[in-house]
Amino acid sequence: MSCESCTNELTKSLYLELEKFINELPEKRGALISVLHKAQSLFGYLPKEVQVFVGKKLGVPVSQVYGVVSFYSFFTMLPKGEHPISVCLGTACYVRGADKVLDAFKKELGIEIGETTPDGKFSLDALRCVGACGLAPVVLIGDKVYGRINTADEVRKILSEY
């Protein structure tokens, strides 16, 4: 934990909650992924400090924690924007033009996949199939699903809602 996070009451309570979750686990063996899920749901992302903390509490080397975090696409080491945008690049969306939708978002926001806008409002990601293939191409903003997006104008319209 950096000194900054020690003085931040909010962060401190998040660490306490994570510690409580770990202590209440029926078994620590094999729990690394579920602990990381919990940590990411609390902090929004998994910075180095959180990974060190998890490793220490579970008795697992930090190298192993980092190995797992970097292996799975669900885990992120960078904070997401206030409204995380995920463009589905599953096959069904791809054949219905998802790559063009992604380009439109990149152009509108001026960021690449995995980046966040300077004001922290939007972050852009690609994901593989939300299973709403009937609505292809599909974009998720937070939990909200937007389907059948076909033009750059629609992309602008969606962004203007936020």
């Binding site: 799975y72 669900f74 096959t91 069904a92 219905r96 199939c129 293939c133 609505l135 599909v138 389907g147």
Partner: protein, 595 residues
């Protein structure tokens, strides 16, 4: 069920929920309450009906009226007309695309006529959160039957049914159970593989969302057969609704004594725990899945040892896919002989396919094994979107290959698909039309496997990267004929030497498209031309005589490649053009073409 004389079923699958089906349920309940009919009309949120193209779906029983694309604001009319006055609302009925006539009930829709629903038997019929509705449809009776048999009899029944794994491999399920059962150990595990990673396939999610109890029941039967007391479901964290419904199902099953100790008054003990995946395609491979459940990187290991001998924490483990398990209770209820009577000689039963892409009826369908591709695409799927020409269908996702027009009359089963250079996979079917460029499709799949390769073995880690680089070169017009030879040779090496199924099958999309559409590859490398008109690097934007010289295109061009006087035809400098397409989008006169 008796006190209600009308049931309104609203689809609560992910697709329909995204189109506000939740609000439809709320509005239905409100207007029915206003009409004081809440004791006669029951509103139910069910699992997926499969007809996702026209969602949200509302179905009214007993007359099977099938309303499509219902909006929350349509509900008032629906209640006043249909529920109160008994008159169908024609404008919300499904319209047959060939006859343009309204189809009143689902039984007469082409989409459903050729389907036979076994694994999806309860999806769209019951409230998945209510265990009693599952029990009312003979739920948990199969578990009762299994518990009165010996474990070997249970295994023999599954073997006799001819059921093969629906996750991709097609390995006989009964045999798999027998292996796990014969390996003695103090603890064994039953694992349900719900890590549906094939992009474009969503049958496992729909089954878990629409009929979670069938999975709970099947896992318990498997547990009894192989001698395991513990079950684990490995599920994608990206499927929150499925997770939620499964959790509810497990909780209710415990309350009803269908999980836990002394199940149905016997000595049998079984319980289920949920383990979350974190987004890695390779975890669909059973050894990788087991490592991921142990909290580690999901890297596969060589087989043998098979999980049946040494799996989760080194104990005998049986891994089955969701759809495979969903078939188990029916095999006991209707008998192995009944199940074996459906399908082809070596592929028994039915298969669920996720139809997607350029097809009219996107959705989830279930047909007997041996149904032809033509029936699936034209009769059930309603043909190709916008009247375009069918080109190919990719089956088996990133591990599969494509089938073309000449394969349309091939009966679909495990062995025929492999003979045609594709595979069943989990059942994704992506339909492509004349506008899809096959080398670009191959590149799309290889980018996927390159990204999803776990990096453990060299052929897959480096081989998929090289394949994807060569394909990028080809679609950007920089490929040579020699590249095509390298593609073939490298594909063969990866196929022969990669460690696990992901790597071994990764070259399939390349080999299959090269085999069936070699002329397209040749056009890309020899003539620097994309016959489908999709590869933007090989296209030129041109201004036709329709141009009136409004200057809109010149102003929007980010690289100032367009010049021309006001009210005169403009021209594009091909050297400067970056092919972004902004001009074409901006032109109101359709004067800019891509060729």
């Amino acid at each position: 069920m008796s006190k209600y004389n009308m049931h309104i079923l609203v689809c609560g699958g992910t697709g329909c929920l995204s189109s506000q089906s939740n609000l439809i349920v709320e509005n239905l309940e409100r207007y029915i309450k206003e009409a004081n009919m809440e004791n006669q009309v029951q509103v139910l949120k069910t699992g997926c009906f499969g007809f996702c193209e026209k969602g949200p779906i509302v179905k009214i029983l007993p007359d099977n009226t099938f309303y499509v694309q219902v909006k929350p604001e349509d509900v008032e009319e629906l209640v006043k007309e249909h529920v109160i006055k008994g008159r169908r609302v024609d404008r919300l009925l499904y319209q047959d695309p060939t006859t343009s006539e309204h189809v009143e009930d689902s039984k007469h829709m082409d989409f459903y006529k050729k389907q036979q629903r076994v694994a999806l038997r309860n999806c769209g019929f019951i409230d998945p959160d209510n265990i009693e509705e599952y029990i009312a449809r003979d739920g948990y009776a199969a578990l009762g039957m299994a518990l009165s048999m010996s474990t070997q009899e249970v295994i023999d029944e599954v073997k006799k049914s001819g059921l093969r794994g629906r996750g991709g491999g097609g390995f006989p399920t009964g045999l798999k159970w027998e292996f796990a059962s014969k390996n003695a150990a103090d603890q064994k595990y039953v694992v349900c593989n719900a890590d549906e990673g094939d992009p474009g396939a969503f049958m496992d999610r729909s089954i878990l969302e629409g009929d979670p109890h069938s999975i709970v029941e099947a896992m318990a039967i498997c547990g009894y057969a192989i001698g395991a007391t513990k079950g684990l479901v490995y599920i994608r964290a990206e499927y929150p609704l499925a997770v939620n419904r499964l959790q509810t199902a497990i909780r209710s099953a415990r309350e009803y004594g269908l999980l836990g100790k002394n199940i149905l008054g016997t000595d049998f003990e079984f319980d289920i725990e949920i383990k979350f995946g974190a987004g890695a395609f390779v975890c669909g491979e059973e050894t990788a899945l087991i490592h991921s459940m142990e909290g580690m990187r999901g890297e596969p290991t060589t087989k043998p040892p098979f999980p049946a001998a040494s799996g989760y924490w080194g104990k005998p483990t049986n891994v089955n896919n969701v759809e495979t398990l969903a078939n188990i209770p029916v095999i006991f209820l209707k008998g192995a002989d009944w199940f074996a009577s459906i399908g082809t000689e070596k592929s028994k039963g039915t298969k669920v396919f996720a139809l997607a892409g350029k097809i009219n009826n996107v959705g989830l369908i279930e047909v007997p094994m041996g149904t032809t591709l033509r029936e699936v695409i034209y009769d059930i799927g309603g043909g190709i979107k916008d009247g375009k020409k069918f080109k190919a269908v990719q089956t088996g996702g990133p591990s599969g290959g494509c089938l073309t027009e000449e394969d349309l009359d091939t009966p679909i089963d495990f062995d025929n698909l492999i003979a045609k250079g594709s595979m069943m996979g989990s059942g994704g079917m992506i339909v492509m039309d004349e506008d899809d460029c096959m080398p670009a499709v191959a590149k799309f799949y290889l980018e996927f496997t390159e990204e999803e390769s776990c990096g453990k073995c060299t052929p897959c880690r480096i081989g998929t990267k090289r394949l994807s680089e060569i394909l990028s070169k080809i679609v950007s017009g920089k490929g040579t004929e020699e590249d095509l030879e390298i593609l073939k040779e490298l594909s063969q090496v990866i196929r022969d030497t990669a460690l696990c199924g992901l790597g071994q099958t990764a070259p399939n999309p390349v080999l299959s498209t090269l085999n069936k559409f070699e002329d397209e590859y040749i056009a890309h490398v020899r003539e620097k031309r994309c016959p489908a008109g999709q590869c933007s690097a090989l296209l030129q934007y041109k201004i036709t005589d329709k141009c009136i010289g409004c200057t809109a295109c010149a102003r929007v061009c980010p690289v100032n490649a367009i010049t021309g006087a006001v009210k005169a035809k403009h021209t594009i400098d091909q050297e400067k053009c970056i092919k972004c397409g902004a001009c074409m989008e901006k032109c109101k006169f359709k004067a800019i073409v891509k060729e």
